[in-house]
Symmetry: C2
């Protein structure tokens, strides 16, 4: 019952991997090159070197679910948004289908369902997330889509909300809380076909994501 | 039985519109702003002002099929590839489904089915086309996907091929031949669920695309 973590070396990915390791959840951290391995080795986390723009198939061997939390990030251009956030996600979804995986946990973004409503600078990114989410919904793989708000660096409160109404319009969520939410989702194997907005809030994660 | 032409003001779009007008095929040319209207007015071609990144819905009124030949083109960046080639296509496909249109004719690109095999510079574009095509295939709207090779400016030979084997590896096709191919597809309403590579070649269009 190993979970492949795509985007393991990212900010959310690393925090999730540490939580999973501590909870003894079987995971495999997918990293792009062996130079990223030391951090994971030190923590006893299994890794596989694979590339969303290259050799990918072998990373899925022996895994039965996937977390996709890869993102090209703010330091690359929209060409990488197309190759990673969009096409990397599509490749991972198609492989998950082909292998008959039990679940695909997608880290998307709040308001990805309406890219034209986003601030102009964010629209191309939201368009990529929209298309990746749509591809997942149309696929045969059981899935959960998590839609965090604006990501911030704060310690985990482990208290969340799932709508702007609930937060009175506050739209941020700590990456640490996203990592805890992912740990909860990985453990809650009966959750399928769900989509959750995720914000910092007042409710325990297990109560909010059910 | 009006065909909405999305991307009408593009190089293929204009040539197709002229052919359709000459053949008395009912079309509506979708243009982004009224300043593009004169060229169409001079030729007696009906237009509608609509925007793939804005108000779009009204353009579909009274139409029963769609040609999507819009492209952000080589003079804009991959942010526009995301907004036009990917998300604009997705919006048009979703509207075509919602309206129950009889067909969606997509102008894609040869090898869009394998973006990682394209030269590196073209990969983000091919990823967008891959995702748009996949969205169309997964949709409920009957469709045809046309995949031209490398586009060149030559007069229409009206002779085409549908594989590199057939051309001995020659990978180009004139925009004029693509326009003629679209005219043929618009008239051939029984063609559904087909995908064709399109190259300059030796066969009459009606024989190659059947």
């Amino acid at each position: 019952m190993t979970t492949l973590v795509i985007g393991a070396n990212g900010q959310i990915g690393r925090q999730f991997c540490e939580l999973a390791e501590t909870a003894a959840l079987p995971i495999r951290a997918m990293i792009r090159d062996a130079g990223q391995r030391a951090w994971f080795d030190e923590r006893g986390i299994d890794t596989v070197v694979a590339d969303l723009e290259g050799e990918l198939r072998h990373a899925f061997d022996g895994c039965d679910q996937v977390i996709f939390t890869a993102g090209s990030g703010p330091h690359t251009g929209p060409d990488k948004t197309l190759m990673i956030d969009l096409f990397g996600a599509i490749r991972a979804i198609d492989l998950a289908c082909e292998r008959g995986l039990s679940r695909f946990l997608m880290v998307s973004a709040m308001r990805a369902e309406d890219p034209l409503e986003a601030p102009e600078k964010l629209r191309p990114y939201m368009a990529a997330k929209y298309a990746a989410d749509a591809h997942l919904r149309a696929s045969a793989v059981p899935h959960v889509i998590l839609k965090p708000g604006r990501l911030i660096d704060q310690p985990a409160s482990q208290r969340v909300a799932t709508s702007l109404t609930e937060t009175g319009g506050e739209n941020s969520v700590s990456r640490a809380n996203v990592a805890y939410a992912l740990r909860h989702l990985v453990q809650s194997r009966d959750l399928i076909g769900r989509e959750y907005v995720l914000l910092d809030g007042e409710r325990p994660i297990a109560e909010a994501l059910c």
